[in-house]
Protein backbone atom coordinates (compact mmCIF):
# COMPACT_ATOMS: atom_id res chain seq x y z
CA UNK A 1 0.00 0.00 0.00
CA UNK A 2 2.94 2.36 0.63
CA UNK A 3 5.67 3.41 -1.73
CA UNK A 4 6.87 6.35 -3.78
CA UNK A 5 3.95 8.85 -3.83
CA UNK A 6 3.69 8.95 -7.64
CA UNK A 7 2.55 5.32 -7.71
CA UNK A 8 1.09 5.20 -4.22
CA UNK A 9 -0.95 8.37 -3.98
CA UNK A 10 -3.40 7.19 -1.31
CA UNK A 11 -1.20 5.86 1.47
CA UNK A 12 -0.98 9.04 3.53
CA UNK A 13 -4.73 9.67 3.39
CA UNK A 14 -5.72 6.10 4.26
CA UNK A 15 -3.28 6.07 7.19
CA UNK A 16 -4.84 9.30 8.44
CA UNK A 17 -8.29 7.74 8.07
CA UNK A 18 -7.17 4.66 10.02
CA UNK A 19 -5.87 6.95 12.75
CA UNK A 20 -9.25 8.72 13.00
CA UNK A 21 -11.04 5.38 13.29
CA UNK A 22 -8.55 4.15 15.86
CA UNK A 23 -9.07 7.25 17.98
CA UNK A 24 -12.76 6.45 18.17
CA UNK A 25 -12.07 2.74 18.74
CA UNK A 26 -8.74 2.43 20.61
CA UNK A 27 -9.07 -1.34 20.94
CA UNK A 28 -9.50 -1.87 17.21
CA UNK A 29 -7.01 -3.93 15.24
CA UNK A 30 -5.54 -3.02 11.87
CA UNK A 31 -5.28 -5.92 9.45
CA UNK A 32 -2.73 -5.20 6.70
CA UNK A 33 -3.39 -7.44 3.71
CA UNK A 34 0.08 -7.62 2.16
CA UNK A 35 2.21 -5.64 -0.31
CA UNK A 36 2.78 -3.07 2.39
CA UNK A 37 5.96 -1.54 0.96
CA UNK A 38 6.53 -1.26 -2.78
CA UNK A 39 8.14 -2.40 -4.90
CA UNK A 40 10.11 -5.24 -3.33
CA UNK A 41 9.30 -5.09 0.36
CA UNK A 42 12.91 -4.16 1.15
CA UNK A 43 14.08 -2.81 4.49
CA UNK A 44 14.60 0.67 3.08
CA UNK A 45 11.16 0.64 1.42
CA UNK A 46 9.52 -0.19 4.74
CA UNK A 47 11.60 2.50 6.43
CA UNK A 48 11.04 5.21 3.82
CA UNK A 49 7.44 4.55 2.81
CA UNK A 50 5.60 2.41 5.39
CA UNK A 51 7.01 3.96 8.56
CA UNK A 52 5.98 7.56 7.76
CA UNK A 53 2.38 6.52 7.06
CA UNK A 54 0.94 3.22 8.28
CA UNK A 55 4.06 2.44 10.28
CA UNK A 56 3.68 5.24 12.86
CA UNK A 57 3.72 3.75 16.34
CA UNK A 58 0.04 4.35 17.10
CA UNK A 59 -0.98 2.37 14.00
CA UNK A 60 1.87 -0.15 13.92
CA UNK A 61 1.19 -1.15 17.52
CA UNK A 62 -2.31 -2.24 16.49
CA UNK A 63 -1.37 -3.95 13.20
CA UNK A 64 -1.46 -7.64 12.32
CA UNK A 65 -0.76 -8.75 8.79
CA UNK A 66 -0.27 -11.31 6.06
CA UNK A 67 2.42 -11.23 3.38
CA UNK A 68 1.88 -10.25 -0.26
CA UNK A 69 3.67 -11.13 -3.45
CA UNK A 70 5.70 -7.92 -3.36
CA UNK A 71 6.87 -8.75 0.15
CA UNK A 72 8.29 -11.96 -1.34
CA UNK A 73 10.39 -10.04 -3.83
CA UNK A 74 13.08 -10.10 -1.20
CA UNK A 75 14.42 -13.55 -0.38
CA UNK A 76 11.93 -15.25 1.95
CA UNK A 77 10.23 -11.89 2.63
CA UNK A 78 12.67 -11.39 5.48
CA UNK A 79 12.23 -7.59 5.80
CA UNK A 80 8.45 -8.03 6.12
CA UNK A 81 8.82 -10.58 8.93
CA UNK A 82 11.45 -8.51 10.71
CA UNK A 83 9.44 -5.29 10.43
CA UNK A 84 6.22 -6.64 11.92
CA UNK A 85 7.73 -9.28 14.21
CA UNK A 86 6.78 -12.87 14.94
CA UNK A 87 3.64 -12.06 16.97
CA UNK A 88 2.07 -10.06 14.15
CA UNK A 89 3.47 -11.70 11.02
CA UNK A 90 4.92 -15.10 11.84
CA UNK A 91 8.36 -16.07 10.57
CA UNK A 92 9.82 -16.98 7.15
CA UNK A 93 9.59 -20.63 8.21
CA UNK A 94 6.03 -20.40 9.56
CA UNK A 95 4.39 -17.50 7.85
CA UNK A 96 0.82 -18.15 9.02
CA UNK A 97 -0.73 -17.86 12.44
CA UNK A 98 -3.98 -17.52 14.32
CA UNK A 99 -5.19 -15.31 17.10
CA UNK A 100 -8.22 -15.56 19.34
CA UNK A 101 -10.16 -12.31 19.59
CA UNK A 102 -11.78 -12.75 23.03
CA UNK A 103 -13.50 -9.35 23.15
CA UNK A 104 -15.35 -10.10 19.94
CA UNK A 105 -15.54 -13.84 20.45
CA UNK A 106 -14.01 -14.49 17.02
CA UNK A 107 -11.05 -16.46 15.70
CA UNK A 108 -8.59 -14.66 13.40
CA UNK A 109 -6.46 -16.53 10.87
CA UNK A 110 -3.63 -15.02 8.89
CA UNK A 111 -2.71 -17.25 5.96
CA UNK A 112 -0.04 -17.03 3.29
CA UNK A 113 -1.26 -17.15 -0.30
CA UNK A 114 2.30 -16.73 -1.64
CA UNK A 115 3.55 -20.21 -0.74
CA UNK A 116 2.32 -23.78 -1.13
CA UNK A 117 -1.25 -24.10 0.06
CA UNK A 118 -2.56 -27.29 -1.49
CA UNK A 119 -3.84 -30.39 0.27
CA UNK A 120 -0.44 -31.79 1.27
CA UNK A 121 1.21 -28.52 2.21
CA UNK A 122 2.40 -27.85 5.73
CA UNK A 123 0.24 -24.74 5.77
CA UNK A 124 -2.99 -26.61 5.08
CA UNK A 125 -2.15 -29.29 7.64
CA UNK A 126 -1.61 -26.54 10.18
CA UNK A 127 -4.85 -24.82 9.18
CA UNK A 128 -6.85 -28.01 9.76
CA UNK A 129 -5.31 -28.46 13.20
CA UNK A 130 -5.81 -24.83 14.13
CA UNK A 131 -9.46 -24.82 13.11
CA UNK A 132 -10.11 -27.99 15.08
CA UNK A 133 -8.55 -26.51 18.22
CA UNK A 134 -9.93 -22.98 18.10
CA UNK A 135 -11.71 -21.40 21.07
CA UNK A 136 -14.23 -19.27 19.23
CA UNK A 137 -16.62 -20.25 16.47
CA UNK A 138 -16.90 -17.29 14.08
CA UNK A 139 -13.83 -17.14 11.85
CA UNK A 140 -12.31 -14.24 9.97
CA UNK A 141 -9.38 -15.11 7.71
CA UNK A 142 -6.96 -12.83 5.93
CA UNK A 143 -4.59 -13.57 3.06
CA UNK A 144 -3.29 -11.57 0.17
CA UNK A 145 -4.42 -13.07 -3.13
CA UNK A 146 -8.22 -13.25 -3.54
CA UNK A 147 -9.99 -16.32 -4.84
CA UNK A 148 -12.45 -14.09 -6.71
CA UNK A 149 -12.08 -10.61 -8.12
CA UNK A 150 -13.45 -8.34 -10.83
CA UNK A 151 -10.42 -6.09 -11.07
CA UNK A 152 -6.76 -6.55 -11.94
CA UNK A 153 -5.48 -10.14 -11.56
CA UNK A 154 -9.08 -11.46 -11.52
CA UNK A 155 -9.51 -14.87 -9.84
CA UNK A 156 -6.80 -17.04 -8.28
CA UNK A 157 -7.49 -20.74 -8.09
CA UNK A 158 -5.01 -21.66 -5.39
CA UNK A 159 -6.86 -20.19 -2.40
CA UNK A 160 -9.65 -22.67 -3.01
CA UNK A 161 -7.81 -24.93 -0.57
CA UNK A 162 -8.19 -22.36 2.16
CA UNK A 163 -11.83 -21.82 1.27
CA UNK A 164 -12.61 -25.53 1.41
CA UNK A 165 -11.27 -25.79 4.95
CA UNK A 166 -12.87 -22.56 6.11
CA UNK A 167 -16.23 -23.47 4.64
CA UNK A 168 -16.13 -26.87 6.32
CA UNK A 169 -15.40 -25.08 9.61
CA UNK A 170 -18.36 -22.72 9.05
CA UNK A 171 -16.17 -19.66 8.54
CA UNK A 172 -17.65 -16.22 8.06
CA UNK A 173 -15.30 -13.73 6.50
CA UNK A 174 -12.33 -13.63 4.15
CA UNK A 175 -10.35 -10.42 3.63
CA UNK A 176 -7.93 -10.12 0.70
CA UNK A 177 -5.81 -7.49 -1.03
CA UNK A 178 -3.64 -7.86 -4.16
CA UNK A 179 -6.07 -6.16 -6.55
CA UNK A 180 -6.28 -2.41 -6.10
CA UNK A 181 -9.98 -1.88 -5.68
CA UNK A 182 -12.75 -2.59 -3.18
CA UNK A 183 -15.21 -5.42 -3.69
CA UNK A 184 -17.71 -7.27 -1.56
CA UNK A 185 -19.13 -10.66 -2.44
CA UNK A 186 -22.31 -12.32 -1.27
CA UNK A 187 -21.81 -15.32 0.99
CA UNK A 188 -20.97 -18.27 -1.25
CA UNK A 189 -19.63 -21.78 -1.20
CA UNK A 190 -16.08 -22.50 -2.38
CA UNK A 191 -17.53 -23.64 -5.73
CA UNK A 192 -19.12 -20.19 -6.19
CA UNK A 193 -22.66 -21.35 -5.50
CA UNK A 194 -24.45 -18.57 -3.59
CA UNK A 195 -25.20 -19.70 -0.09
CA UNK A 196 -26.42 -17.44 2.74
CA UNK A 197 -24.36 -19.57 5.11
CA UNK A 198 -21.23 -19.50 3.01
CA UNK A 199 -18.12 -17.33 3.28
CA UNK A 200 -18.27 -13.65 2.47
CA UNK A 201 -15.16 -12.37 0.70
CA UNK A 202 -13.94 -8.78 0.61
CA UNK A 203 -11.18 -7.42 -1.61
CA UNK A 204 -9.68 -4.36 0.06
CA UNK A 205 -6.75 -3.24 -2.03
CA UNK A 206 -7.47 0.44 -1.50
CA UNK A 207 -4.76 1.31 1.03
CA UNK A 208 -2.69 3.57 -1.18
CA UNK A 209 -1.30 1.99 -4.34
CA UNK A 210 -2.64 3.43 -7.59
CA UNK A 211 -6.16 2.04 -8.13
CA UNK A 212 -7.04 -0.19 -11.08
CA UNK A 213 -10.30 -0.69 -12.95
CA UNK A 214 -12.80 -3.44 -13.58
CA UNK A 215 -11.71 -6.20 -15.94
CA UNK A 216 -14.75 -8.48 -15.71
CA UNK A 217 -18.01 -9.18 -13.95
CA UNK A 218 -17.70 -11.87 -11.30
CA UNK A 219 -20.65 -13.92 -10.07
CA UNK A 220 -21.91 -13.01 -6.59
CA UNK A 221 -20.10 -9.67 -6.53
CA UNK A 222 -22.49 -7.39 -4.67
CA UNK A 223 -20.62 -4.12 -4.60
CA UNK A 224 -17.36 -2.84 -6.08
CA UNK A 225 -15.55 0.51 -6.24
CA UNK A 226 -12.56 1.11 -8.43
CA UNK A 227 -12.17 4.82 -7.79
CA UNK A 228 -11.81 5.38 -4.05
CA UNK A 229 -9.02 4.90 -1.57
CA UNK A 230 -10.33 3.80 1.79
CA UNK A 231 -10.45 1.23 4.54
CA UNK A 232 -12.90 -1.47 5.52
CA UNK A 233 -14.12 -1.08 9.08
CA UNK A 234 -15.44 -4.32 10.53
CA UNK A 235 -17.32 -4.58 13.78
CA UNK A 236 -17.29 -8.15 15.05
CA UNK A 237 -19.68 -9.39 17.71
CA UNK A 238 -20.26 -12.97 18.82
CA UNK A 239 -23.61 -13.03 17.03
CA UNK A 240 -23.12 -10.73 14.04
CA UNK A 241 -20.72 -8.61 12.03
CA UNK A 242 -21.04 -5.19 10.44
CA UNK A 243 -19.00 -3.79 7.59
CA UNK A 244 -18.39 -0.22 6.43
CA UNK A 245 -16.16 0.73 3.54
CA UNK A 246 -15.08 4.28 4.32
CA UNK A 247 -13.29 6.50 1.85
CA UNK A 248 -10.59 8.98 2.76
CA UNK A 249 -13.17 11.76 3.00
CA UNK A 250 -14.95 9.79 5.75
CA UNK A 251 -17.88 8.84 3.55
CA UNK A 252 -19.35 5.39 4.13
CA UNK A 253 -19.72 3.96 0.62
CA UNK A 254 -20.81 0.44 1.48
CA UNK A 255 -22.28 -0.86 4.70
CA UNK A 256 -24.29 -3.77 6.00
CA UNK A 257 -24.71 -6.20 8.84
CA UNK A 258 -25.18 -9.93 8.99
CA UNK A 259 -25.75 -12.48 11.74
CA UNK A 260 -22.99 -15.03 12.08
CA UNK A 261 -23.37 -18.42 10.49
CA UNK A 262 -25.79 -20.74 12.21
CA UNK A 263 -24.87 -23.74 10.10
CA UNK A 264 -24.75 -26.95 12.05
CA UNK A 265 -25.51 -25.40 15.44
Amino acid sequence: MCGPPRKNPGAEATAALARRILKAHPDAMILALGDNAYNRGKHDEYREHYTPTWGQSDLLGRTWCCPGNHDYRTAAATPYFEYFGEQRAGTPQRSYYSLPLPAAGWHLLSLNSEIDQDAHSAQLQWLRQDLAARRYQPIVAIWHRPRWGSGAHRDSKKPRWFLNELHAARGELVLNGHAHHYERFAPQRPDQIPDPQGLRQFVVGTGGRKLTGRTKDTPNSEYARFDKFGVLKLTLRPDAYKWEFIDVDDRVLDTGEQPVNQRGR
Binding site: A77, Q93, E114, I115, D116, S156, T215
Partner: protein, 117 residues
Protein backbone atom coordinates in the same frame (compact mmCIF):
# COMPACT_ATOMS: atom_id res chain seq x y z
CA UNK B 1 18.88 -16.97 -2.69
CA UNK B 2 19.25 -19.77 -5.19
CA UNK B 3 16.72 -22.58 -4.87
CA UNK B 4 16.69 -25.85 -6.75
CA UNK B 5 13.19 -26.57 -8.07
CA UNK B 6 11.72 -29.59 -9.80
CA UNK B 7 9.38 -28.51 -12.58
CA UNK B 8 6.46 -30.58 -13.82
CA UNK B 9 6.06 -31.01 -17.60
CA UNK B 10 3.08 -28.63 -17.48
CA UNK B 11 5.18 -25.99 -15.78
CA UNK B 12 7.96 -26.40 -18.34
CA UNK B 13 5.46 -26.04 -21.18
CA UNK B 14 3.95 -22.98 -19.52
CA UNK B 15 7.41 -21.39 -19.25
CA UNK B 16 8.12 -22.14 -22.91
CA UNK B 17 4.83 -20.68 -24.10
CA UNK B 18 5.13 -17.64 -21.85
CA UNK B 19 8.63 -16.97 -23.20
CA UNK B 20 7.26 -17.08 -26.76
CA UNK B 21 4.53 -14.56 -25.94
CA UNK B 22 6.96 -12.28 -24.13
CA UNK B 23 9.42 -12.31 -27.03
CA UNK B 24 6.62 -11.35 -29.42
CA UNK B 25 5.42 -8.62 -27.08
CA UNK B 26 8.97 -7.37 -26.65
CA UNK B 27 9.41 -7.11 -30.42
CA UNK B 28 6.14 -5.20 -30.75
CA UNK B 29 6.99 -2.81 -27.94
CA UNK B 30 10.42 -2.17 -29.46
CA UNK B 31 8.80 -1.40 -32.79
CA UNK B 32 6.54 1.24 -31.26
CA UNK B 33 9.44 2.77 -29.34
CA UNK B 34 8.59 1.53 -25.84
CA UNK B 35 12.15 0.58 -25.10
CA UNK B 36 12.23 0.04 -21.36
CA UNK B 37 9.21 -2.28 -21.31
CA UNK B 38 10.49 -4.08 -24.41
CA UNK B 39 13.78 -4.81 -22.68
CA UNK B 40 12.03 -5.94 -19.52
CA UNK B 41 9.85 -8.41 -21.44
CA UNK B 42 12.88 -9.70 -23.32
CA UNK B 43 14.64 -10.21 -19.99
CA UNK B 44 11.74 -12.21 -18.56
CA UNK B 45 11.77 -14.37 -21.70
CA UNK B 46 15.49 -15.05 -21.25
CA UNK B 47 14.87 -16.22 -17.69
CA UNK B 48 12.05 -18.50 -18.78
CA UNK B 49 14.17 -19.88 -21.62
CA UNK B 50 16.92 -20.69 -19.13
CA UNK B 51 14.46 -22.48 -16.86
CA UNK B 52 13.14 -24.53 -19.78
CA UNK B 53 16.67 -25.34 -20.94
CA UNK B 54 17.49 -26.70 -17.48
CA UNK B 55 14.91 -29.42 -17.90
CA UNK B 56 13.12 -31.00 -14.97
CA UNK B 57 15.50 -29.63 -12.32
CA UNK B 58 16.48 -26.00 -12.36
CA UNK B 59 18.14 -23.51 -10.07
CA UNK B 60 16.20 -20.26 -9.64
CA UNK B 61 17.42 -17.21 -7.77
CA UNK B 62 15.32 -14.40 -6.27
CA UNK B 63 15.57 -12.21 -9.37
CA UNK B 64 14.64 -15.14 -11.60
CA UNK B 65 11.61 -15.82 -9.43
CA UNK B 66 10.50 -12.20 -9.78
CA UNK B 67 10.91 -12.55 -13.56
CA UNK B 68 8.59 -15.58 -13.53
CA UNK B 69 6.05 -13.66 -11.48
CA UNK B 70 6.27 -10.63 -13.77
CA UNK B 71 5.79 -12.92 -16.77
CA UNK B 72 2.61 -14.18 -15.14
CA UNK B 73 1.34 -10.63 -14.61
CA UNK B 74 2.01 -9.72 -18.24
CA UNK B 75 0.21 -12.85 -19.35
CA UNK B 76 -2.75 -11.66 -17.26
CA UNK B 77 -2.96 -8.65 -19.58
CA UNK B 78 -2.85 -10.89 -22.64
CA UNK B 79 -5.51 -13.12 -21.07
CA UNK B 80 -7.76 -10.14 -20.35
CA UNK B 81 -7.30 -8.82 -23.89
CA UNK B 82 -8.30 -12.15 -25.39
CA UNK B 83 -11.31 -12.47 -23.12
CA UNK B 84 -14.04 -11.55 -25.58
CA UNK B 85 -16.68 -13.48 -27.45
CA UNK B 86 -14.44 -14.33 -30.39
CA UNK B 87 -11.20 -15.21 -28.65
CA UNK B 88 -11.98 -16.50 -25.18
CA UNK B 89 -10.58 -19.97 -25.77
CA UNK B 90 -7.19 -18.36 -26.10
CA UNK B 91 -7.85 -16.50 -22.87
CA UNK B 92 -8.51 -19.77 -21.02
CA UNK B 93 -5.36 -21.24 -22.50
CA UNK B 94 -3.24 -18.35 -21.24
CA UNK B 95 -4.93 -18.56 -17.83
CA UNK B 96 -3.72 -22.13 -17.42
CA UNK B 97 -0.17 -21.07 -18.11
CA UNK B 98 -0.48 -18.23 -15.58
CA UNK B 99 -1.49 -20.76 -12.93
CA UNK B 100 1.51 -22.96 -13.70
CA UNK B 101 3.88 -19.98 -13.50
CA UNK B 102 2.34 -19.07 -10.15
CA UNK B 103 2.94 -22.63 -8.95
CA UNK B 104 6.65 -22.15 -9.63
CA UNK B 105 6.63 -18.83 -7.74
CA UNK B 106 4.82 -20.25 -4.71
CA UNK B 107 7.15 -23.23 -4.56
CA UNK B 108 10.17 -20.96 -4.71
CA UNK B 109 8.76 -18.78 -1.88
CA UNK B 110 8.04 -21.78 0.32
CA UNK B 111 11.50 -23.24 -0.23
CA UNK B 112 13.16 -19.86 0.37
CA UNK B 113 11.26 -19.52 3.64
CA UNK B 114 12.49 -22.90 4.81
CA UNK B 115 16.04 -22.13 3.73
CA UNK B 116 16.00 -18.80 5.58
CA UNK B 117 16.10 -20.68 8.87
Amino acid sequence: MEISLTLTPDEQHACRRAAALLRALSAGLREIGTTQESEACAGYAVTLDAIVASGECCAVNADGKVDVEQAGFILEGIRDGLDNADLDEGSDFVQRDIERLNDVVFRYNAAAGKAAG
